[in-house]
């Protein structure tokens, strides 16, 4: 006679999902919906990262130096800026380079600039790590000597920082709420199965089944429903996103939308399936603990 816990658990799980196909379908669907929302949250946050890095790159602080600033003082100022908190990069643009920038802006009409003496001051261009660092850095830069004027997009950077924080909080909160809903739904399915099988479980214990045989099918059922929900949720949100990027890309080609790499797609699917497994296991385990004396 062979000892076959694994075989028993798998065949019972398969049967139990089929026997309770209505509630299995329900909990699988709810899990899929929950994980679909999680997937949407992930994709949104990837896109926000993508947009923010794009916009933040444009959120450059421009500190104009007084005309008479000596070169070595300018070099010292660059060093000081580099040492500030929240500063990502510092670039020195000399008078000549500024004039060259101007020339490039005029492109083919650059001839109008011929013979004009360079009116532009040298400047220090500073980028910050995060949008919310901008005001703080600006304050410090204004205190420095030889600084004539500081230009930056105050409103835009403040708003961006707030928007970033809010979306982050929302997607995180949404993930938690939606995850709890999924745990509850799987837990409820487990409870219904326990109720339906109370008699059978009592007999199992009577004839000497170990806890593994009693709870194994429930736990595996939870895991399988979680995996199915994860795959379904991933398919839904990736498919929908793919559809949106394609149709939006045609109508509004200038909107910055991240197209997901193969790796990102695999990662998202992996995260959703693993979360599904966690949700399924947790739901089943909590329910077993509450409704079954094991």
């Amino acid at each position: 006679m062979r000892y076959t816990l694994v075989g028993y658990v798998f065949s019972e799980t398969h049967k139990s999902i089929w026997r309770n196909r209505m509630s299995s379908f329900l909990s699988c669907g709810t899990t899929a919906l929950a994980l679909f929302l999680l997937g949407v949250a992930i994709i949104i946050s990837l896109n926000l990262d993508y947009i923010f890095t794009d916009v933040e790159r444009q959120l450059e602080i421009q500190a104009y130096l007084k005309m008479e600033t000596p070169d070595e003082e300018a070099a010292a100022l660059v060093k000081m800026c580099e040492g500030m908190d929240g500063v990502a990069g510092v670039r020195f643009v000399s008078k000549d380079e500024a004039f060259e920038e101007l020339r490039q802006m005029f492109q083919d009409k650059a001839a109008v600039l011929e013979g004009i003496e360079n009116p532009l001051p040298a400047s220090i261009r500073i980028t910050t790590l995060r949008a919310e660092d901008v005001p703080k850095v600006v304050e410090q830069v204004k205190e420095l000597p030889w600084i004539d004027d500081v230009i930056y997009q105050e409103e835009a950077s403040r708003n961006l920082a707030v928007l970033g924080r809010v979306t982050q909080a929302l997607s995180l909160g949404g993930t938690v709420v939606v995850g709890l809903v999924a745990v509850t739904v799987i837990g409820n399915t487990t409870r219904m199965t326990i109720e339906a099988r109370r008699h059978e479980i009592a007999i199992m214990k009577l004839v000497g089944a170990t806890d593994g045989f009693v709870v194994g099918p429930f736990v595996l059922t939870g895991i399988v429903l979680g995996i199915l929900g994860g795959l379904l949720g991933a398919g839904l949100c990736l498919g929908l996103y793919n559809y949106l990027t394609e149709s939006l890309g045609k109508v509004l080609p200038f909107i910055p939308i991240l197209s997901l790499s193969r790796e990102a797609i695999l990662n998202i699917t992996g995260i959703l399936v693993l979360t599904g497994v966690a949700v399924g296991t947790l739901g089943a385990a909590l329910s077993l603990r509450r409704h079954l004396d094991v």
Binding site: H199, M204, V207, T210
Partner: protein, 226 residues
């Protein structure tokens, strides 16, 4: 095989079901537990397969001290004990053969050996020809024979029954007791709590009488009343 040492069982709420019970049942014995309703028969039975634990005293079954047994050892004790109840406890959505095989499957045995053991025990209880029937298609007596088959399929050391014929007519009851006697002849120790006066009187086995939770009579080849 079974020893109770100064066993007292008080249920939560203060109901004293057993009080200072001492008992020795040797291997191969056939024992009736009798007594009025509420005397403590079911409580005694439950102590034997560790459904309940005593408040005081010790219970030994098959060489194990049940009062000191760990939770995870309990399933292995129960595999050596077959238990039969008044209400049969069969699974209505499984056939006779599947009900018997269930006891093997959920303890990790399946395959050809399991099938053979099921067929063997079904022919012993005389239900081989009903192997594919569902419990709902059987008479009460036949259902109880399925339950007995399930309890015997592992060749237990002990067969315990709590009013196994409470739902059956006298003739059918006699068949059930004959079946248990047969298992007893093969070496299984049998303990039966029962109200079946005529059967106890006709079988002339050891009789232990409980009254208000204490043993008031324990006789060999006894009768239902003294």
């Amino acid at each position: 095989m079974i020893q109770l040492r100064d066993v007292t069982k008080e249920y939560p709420g203060g109901m004293l079901a057993l009080s200072h019970v001492n008992l020795d049942i040797r291997k191969g014995e056939f024992v009736f537990i009798v007594g009025h309703s509420g005397a403590g028969k079911s409580t005694l039975i439950k102590l034997l397969y560790r459904e309940e634990v005593p408040t005081e005293g010790r219970v030994f079954v098959a060489g194990k001290d049940l009062t000191r047994m760990r939770r995870r050892e309990v399933p292995f004790l129960r595999r050596r004990i077959g238990v039969v109840f008044q209400d049969f406890k069969l699974l209505p959505d499984r056939t006779v053969a599947e009900n018997v095989e269930f006891a093997l499957r959920v303890t990790g045995y399946n395959g050809r050996d399991a099938k053979r053991a099921v067929a063997q025990v079904l022919s012993m209880v005389g239900l081989k020809h009903r192997a594919g029937a569902y419990p709902g298609e059987l008479s009460g007596g036949e259902q109880q024979r399925v339950a007995i088959a399930r309890s015997l399929v592992r060749n237990p050391d002990i067969l315990i029954a709590d009013e196994p014929t409470g739902n059956l007519d006298p003739d059918t009851s006699m068949e059930i007791f004959r079946l248990m006697e047969r298992a007893n002849r093969y070496g299984t120790t049998v303990v039966v709590a029962t109200h079946a006066r005529h059967i106890v009187d006709s079988m002339r086995k050891r009789v232990i009488e409980l009254r208000n939770g204490t043993v008031v009579r324990d006789v060999r080849r006894g009768a239902y009343d003294d």
